[in-house]
Amino acid sequence: MKITMAHGSGGRATGELIEQIFAKNFNNEVLDKMEDSAVVAGNKKIAVTTDSFVVDPIEFPGGDIGRLCVCGTVNDLLMRGAKPQYLTCGFILQEGADTEVIRRIVESMAETAREAGVQIVAGDTKVVEGNGGMYINTAGVGFVEEDVEISAQQCTPGDVVIISGNMGDHHATILGCRMGIENTIKSDNAPLNEMVNALLTNKIKVHTLRDITRGGLATVLKELAQTSKCTIRLKEDSIPVSPQVRDFCGLLGLEPYYMGNEGKMVAIVAKEDAAKALELIRSSRYGQDAAIIGEVTDEEAGELWMETAIGGIRSLEILQGEGLPRIC
């Protein structure tokens, strides 16, 4: 069945769509009440975030917009040391969208939400003219323990820079789909609960966490260096990139350090805890390729320097220009 403007009318067609696809998959005691807003328990510091997802194509190797819209918001909560609890979701469907595709996307969202330990407690659907596409907005709430203080301002000279795995997989996947380049690269879209929980429960001195999404590693680290007024030094040959993504980049003249990811984070941790932190991330789900890639120094405020494979020093800037639109 195809979506028509009637599915956004708020009437019977809307009700059927919600009942048959959304409510069926997202069922939990809060959502099932179908009230105007969700009332949930909570007595801790809360983290709140929101993100909109417009990825094109909506289904791609290794994931889809449904998995992506849960992971994106969950990971943003995790990066402040929060334990993700609740999500809301707003669907903007274009006329002509196939309900079977919507069903698959919603099932994928529900499964990812279960994996990430969050409940989808509120939602909305609108239909607009168009040609069968869809956008999803998710907002999320997480609880933060009193003693947890993780922020972009806390990179400290002496700290060690760890990334949780290979760079560029998601970006290469989306670009490969759009350009029709045959390959077996898969998106890395994943919720990073397990590795963040491991760091927090083991009382690792984590100063900063950031998910490495649009703009890529270089943009994220340059921004951290600016916010924390420090220098970050990297070693190029320690940055993990899969051979296939490396070749894909070579073919298209791209650099993995500027490519977006959807299931990777950078952790800036105190030097004395670095080895333990690396071990914890590596033994967590989605963290097996984690690596120490550099260190924080007090040389100059806001600088990101990389020692290249032949020993030269390269200064990295934030991504300039457009990058790849509609990657998430």
Binding site: M179, G253, E255, M306, E307, T308, A309, I310, G311, G312, I313, R314, S315, L316, E317, Q320, G321
Partner: protein
């Protein structure tokens, strides 16, 4: 020779000052990417040359494309990096926003399919490039003729390197050696630089695009200062005589002409135009000579000639940046100003 020995030599070099120009934009990119300037002695200066085809395209050419894209039943097809190159008033990206019919393609050969699928649209391909790209345009013409496709024309801005290098040397640019363009040399062969090396008594080194390959070429150039030697450090793909099949195809459809280089003016024998017998495929490429600056303070011309470093331009980073390029060197990823900015070269 071993890499460490080369690196040690280049870092500790303490002889006469040398100024080496990498002509090719891809080399400018690779030099930044591998952090090569930090591996050199202060006595070795690198200069970025005019080897980015987009950067040297004059404003009149862009203006003509903008006019064409607004004509009825006409579509201008182009590589993406030409979209933001400034014309005298605006660029193709803005013209597209105003309703101009502009289409980005990855290969000129896509025109064959497009032209057949849309027989009532006249396609104009923005055929910009050096010796490396021209053979593809020759192949496109060959297919257009073979398949009797009449709704594709080329607006050419084709350039060739040797006459431009000659012009640079003759104009007194302070250059004591050239990293010769690797991709161009695949087509032309390394021998093409011999007459220039002899005439000016300066060395040329054909180089690949990996860090080690560039360091090897720099080492060769420093060692051979003052000699008219042509060295090939990219022998896996470059031969002395080049790709003669490609050279013949190009010669079938194109002939030597004068060409206008942005900021440098007209250089005799530095371009290619379609031969008269193929005039029906030409969208009016000759005489697009005007070259207005968008911003009078822009010093792209002196950057292209190696007379100043991009950072010495008063507009650099402040007014002129990749989001708001004032001159062509900031537009293309191969442009020297773009490279200096995104890599914080000083």
């Amino acid at each position: 020779m071993n890499l460490e020995t080369i690196k040690k030599y280049l870092k500790e070099y303490d002889g006469e000052e040398v100024a080496l120009m990498e002509v090719c934009g891809s080399h400018t990119g690779a030099i930044s990417k591998f952090g090569i300037p930090t591996l050199l002695s202060k006595k070795i200066r690198l200069i970025s040359g005019p080897g980015c085809p987009v950067c040297v395209t004059p404003s009149a050419y862009i203006d003509r494309l903008i006019e064409l894209c607004k004509e009825p039943d006409t579509c201008v097809a182009t590589f993406g990096d030409l979209m933001r190159v400034p014309g005298s008033e605006k660029n193709l990206s803005l013209a597209k926003g105003e309703g101009g019919n502009v289409r980005m393609v990855y290969s000129p050969m896509e025109l064959l399919t497009l032209a057949k699928e849309n027989p009532t649209t006249n396609y104009i391909f923005a055929a910009v490039g050096f010796e490396t790209t021209t053979p593809v345009y020759a192949l496109l013409l060959e297919s257009l003729i073979r398949e009797n496709i009449k709704n594709v024309k080329l607006l050419t801005a084709l350039k060739t390197m040797p006459a431009a290098i000659n012009w640079l040397c003759a104009s007194g640019a302070p250059i004591t050696g050239f990293i010769a363009p690797g991709h161009v040399s695949v087509i032309t062969g390394s021998d093409i630089f011999k007459p220039l090396a002899d005439k000016y008594g300066i060395p040329f080194a054909v180089a690949g695009f990996q860090g080690e390959e560039i360091l090897e070429a720099l080492y060769g150039l420093v060692k051979c200062q003052g000699s008219g030697k042509v060295m090939n450090f990219y022998p896996k793909v470059v031969t002395a005589e080049g790709n003669t099949v490609a050279q013949k195809k190009v010669a079938t459809y194109f002939e030597e002409s004068s060409a206008v280089w942005r900021g440098m003016g007209a250089i005799e024998g530095s371009g290619l135009l379609l031969r008269k017998e193929y005039a029906e495929f030409d969208a009016g490429s000759a005489d697009l000579n005007e070259d207005k600056k968008l911003n009078k303070a822009c010093r792209c011309d002196q950057v292209l000639m190696g007379k100043i470093s991009p950072t010495e331009c008063p507009l650099f980073r402040k007014v002129c940046n990749p989001m708001n390029p004032q001159g062509a060197c900031m537009v293309s990823e191969e442009g020297s100003c773009h490279q200096y900015l995104v890599n914080n070269r000083r």
